[in-house]
């Protein structure tokens, strides 16, 4: 076996390791996004890791703080969305029925619970 053969083997193995490493890291650190829709139409997409307060159509206020999204104000009579737990994991959502506002987390850590019986 020639020296060049070893070189080729080395390069291929290194490449394979690099690609696997990329997939691994990408899967771990993929940033979670907060997707807001109003009446089924996209309102905005925000980074869950950036603290900010979002006014949604003047009816609801969503706060993104320390990697969690929480509905802190709403003008709806039932206030159910305000009473919902803050969300942070892939697929979790907060819904304000009267104002047709849906806030969903896309990406990030897997959810711990698939649903909560109420």
């Amino acid at each position: 076996m020639k020296k060049k053969d070893f070189l080729l083997i080395g390069i291929i193995l290194l490449l394979a390791a690099a690609v696997m490493g990329y997939h691994y890291l990408k899967g771990k650190s993929e940033n979670a996004e907060v997707v807001i829709t109003v009446d089924g139409k996209k309102y905005g997409t925000y980074d869950l890791s950036v603290n900010r307060t979002i006014d949604i159509d003047g009816t609801n206020t969503l706060q993104i703080k320390n990697g969690k999204a929480d509905m802190i104000q709403a003008d709806c009579p039932d206030q159910l969305c305000v009473h919902q737990k803050a969300i942070s994991r892939d697929g979790e959502s907060i819904i304000c029925l009267p104002n047709k506002v849906v806030v969903t987390i896309k990406g990030g850590k897997d959810r711990e619970l698939d649903a909560v019986a109420n």
Partner: protein
Amino acid sequence: MKKPLKCILVFLLSASLALSVFGCTTPPAMDSIKATGVYFDTVISIEIWGTGDEKILDQCKKMCSRFEDLFSTTIKTSDVSRINDAKGAPVEVASDTAELIKEGLYYSKLSGGMFDITIEPLSELWDIGHNPGNIPDEAAIEEAKSHINYKNVIVKGNTVTLKDPKAAIDLGGIAKGFIADKLKAYLESKGIRHGLIDLGGNVLVIGKKVDGEDFRIGIQKPFDKRNEAITSVSVDGKSVVSSGVYERYFKKNGKIYHHILDPRTGYPFDNGLLQVTIISDRSVDGDGLSTSCFALGLEKGSELIKSLDGVEAIFVTNDYKLHYAGKQ
């Protein structure tokens, strides 16, 4: 190095490279599609895996809409409203309505009338969902109570008759479970093997998660923020349904007046329970049993659960302690 060996080596290395690039990508079967909507006064969501066919979800929504039009007490043209407004005359209903009423009567009988589908006159009087804190007067409660008796509901084929013209039925305590079962049957008929049906906290799953793990379903912590769980259960193809005092209530003089009403006293049950959760195969059983067990209380409710096959229950008492019941 001999040539054939070299060829094999190159092949293996190429394969390892190819695998590292393509091997970790998610196959499309891992992705889900999800529908959310507003029916039965609550938010529903249906999530299914292994298909991209949105038509299946559209059909689910159509089914929800149809069931709401049949079972609602607030829609004037619903089967339930027509029965309640008929003043004792026989009413022809959809076969689904007749089937659901029969399920309701089964649980009314099983609980010895503690859960009773003819509770409507009392529910309407208290109107807990919209009541700012008015306790109805004694005479009105007595009058409403006198019309509660599930034995006055006669179902023959698709004809429903109330023997007491002032009686009225409310299927709210059992309808969501029934509808969830119908949705699951439809989805399974379309080949869906992994699914999550959530009708306002009334949860029914299809199979396991697509990764082969059980679904993890939390159980609402009473009076805490919505989706804050007190515990959770792992399920494969089962229904998880809770009934609790925290869902709809008002507080007066430090006392909680909630929506689960005692047909004997005419007041909300006051038995030290905050919540009952039922884990069962059929969601209609979970719905019927959660209210029935709540009404029966911890001791008698646990006995009922132990007498049934394939059903488990978690009771939460007002000290926030969990009590498990089920055949072991």
